[in-house]
């Protein structure tokens, strides 16, 4: 067989197990990158209502960018989940008969072994989170909150008079994300749900980030690999600690209306 006989086309990449792993890793980079930015952006809740609502207003003020990013994230998430399910099926079929005596593992972690489980919980959480804070379907009373620009003082004032809001030009009305955020996390059940979901996200990321670096072949040598594992866990910790600080801060009364 000559060397040129096997063309390395995109189709062979897509079909192979390594190809599926690369899809997981590349979509993973995008999703992790978003998580970091998302968490940092939300830290502005600690700077008060005006900063937070201005930030939200700015994001919504650039719809092309907003929808572009949303499209990339959606495609990444769909590809990530499809590749995960495909690999899981291949891996289950690769060992049709289980060991009679459980394997005694040496280095792997529960996080690494239950990636699909943590991933599916995170997926369910993402759906809930979008319904809750992006679409406002689950708690509409906490979602439909607005501020109106008081022209005289140039400050933003809460106003929920629907008739007035409908009449005003769009640049004089903005979503009161700060109040939505605080009212959302005042409910202990919702705060608890976010907390649990974030712990599973922490579990997912604690393996995912290093795994992604290995899949992309970026941890050459034992030291580099160990370092990447540490970096991965640190990123997981930073993202999740930032995220869980929000419901905790509201519950503790540190962030309030």
């Amino acid at each position: 067989m000559t060397d040129a006989k096997r063309p390395g086309r995109l189709s062979t990449l897509a079909q192979s197990t390594i190809g599926a792993k690369i899809v997981m890793a590349v979509t993973g980079v995008i999703l992790v990158g978003f998580l970091v930015v998302h968490m940092l952006g939300n830290l502005q809740i600690y700077l008060g209502p005006d900063t937070m609502n201005h930030y939200a207003q700015t994001l919504k003020g650039t719809p092309a960018l907003l929808w572009g990013v949303r499209a990339v994230l959606l495609v990444s998430l769909v590809l990530h989940v499809l590749a995960a399910l495909r690999l899981k099926k291949i891996n289950n079929e690769a060992r049709p008969q289980a060991y009679a005596v459980p394997r005694r593992y040496r280095v792997t972690t529960p996080a690494a072994r239950f990636m699909l489980l943590s991933g599916l919980v995170v997926l369910a959480f993402i759906v809930y989170h979008l319904l809750h804070f992006t679409i406002g379907a689950t708690n509409p009373a906490d979602f439909n909150l607005h501020e109106v620009l008081d022209v005289a003082t140039q400050t933003w004032v809460r106003n929920d008079n629907e008739q007035l809001l409908a009449k005003l030009p769009p640049e004089m009305v903005r979503h009161d994300v700060y109040s939505m955020f605080v009212r959302g996390f005042t409910n202990p059940l919702i705060a608890g749900t976010y907390l649990v979901a974030q712990l599973l996200l922490a579990m997912h990321l604690s393996h995912a980030v290093a795994s992604m670096l290995h899949t992309l072949g970026l941890s050459k040598g034992l030291d580099a690999r160990q370092r990447n594992i540490t970096i991965g866990r640190a990123i997981a910790a930073v993202v999740v600690l930032g995220n869980i600080s929000f419901p905790i801060a509201v519950q503790a009364g540190l962030v309030h209306l």
């Binding site: 060397d3 390395g8 062979t12 390594i18 005694r104 040496r106 290995h214 072949g217």
Partner: protein, 252 residues
């Protein structure tokens, strides 16, 4: 004087590929601490034969840790508890009187059980046949130092070439992936000048064959390199990933 011990052995017995197997318990007395693990099984088999029972089938050849035949999972670990040690090089002094030891075959779709502890590892041979070689005209013996190779490359190639194709990496992997084995074979040749000509096609064909054999996909548990009796580094897998991506990027 050497110590002897009495052991309880729980061994997977399976008559043939198509009959279901099960763990069977045997008591074995007078096991000498200086015996190798396989010699201990020889003693058991001599006893079973004398009693008119079917001896335990297990694969072995060199009994010096170089052929890769002695595939068995001992107490939940491929090749047993000692790092960097094949089952044939494991000695009974690792155990103590009264121990219970479980022994079962590699478990993978690509390694069907032939009998008892013996599995068919021809799938690994087919992965190598797909590209784990260099095409050279033989007949003339080339001067040993006609092709200079840097020390670092030579060392790395030798480390990857240490793989004995035993399949412990597959057995150890929660996904029954053969990435460590395939990576070692690809890595061995990619580090050498002789391996350059077929570099691209080799990795594509070997990965394709690896997938076709029904091995699982790596999810970076790193159990393979921990179980490998030749201590092949996990670098083999990252190298395989890089080589595979490179082969796609440098497509003609």
């Amino acid at each position: 004087m050497s110590k002897t011990m009495t052991l309880t052995l729980q061994i997977w017995r399976q008559r043939s590929a198509n009959t279901p197997g099960s763990m069977q318990t045997y008591k074995l007395e007078g096991v000498n601490e200086h015996m190798s693990f396989l010699e201990m099984l020889d003693v058991l088999n001599a006893k079973l034969t004398k009693e008119g029972q079917d001896p335990v089938a297990f694969d072995h050849d060199c009994r010096e840790g170089i052929c890769g035949s002695c595939s068995m999972v001992i107490d939940g670990r491929p090749h047993g508890p000692r790092k960097g040690t094949t089952a044939c090089q494991l000695h009974m002094r690792t155990y103590k009187d009264g121990d219970t030891i479980t022994i079962e075959p590699w478990r993978a779709k690509a390694f069907p059980v032939i009998k008892d502890l013996v599995v068919d590892r021809a799938s690994l041979d087919r992965v190598v046949a797909a590209g784990g070689f260099v095409s050279v005209n033989t007949g003339v013996t080339v001067d040993a130092n006609a092709t200079p190779i840097g020390k670092k490359d030579a060392d790395e190639a030798m480390d990857y070439a240490a793989c004995i194709g035993c399949g412990a990496c597959v057995a150890a992997c929660p996904n029954a992936s053969a990435m460590l084995f395939t990576g070692a074979k690809v890595g061995h040749l990619v580090k050498l000048p002789q391996g350059q000509v077929e570099r691209r096609g080799r990795v594509l064909r070997m990965v394709e064959q690896m997938d076709r054999e029904g091995f699982g996909a790596c999810t970076n548990h790193r159990e393979c390199s921990e179980a490998c009796p030749k201590e092949i580094s996990f670098d083999a897998i990252e190298l395989l990933n890089r080589e595979y991506m490179r082969a796609h990027v440098t497509g003609e």
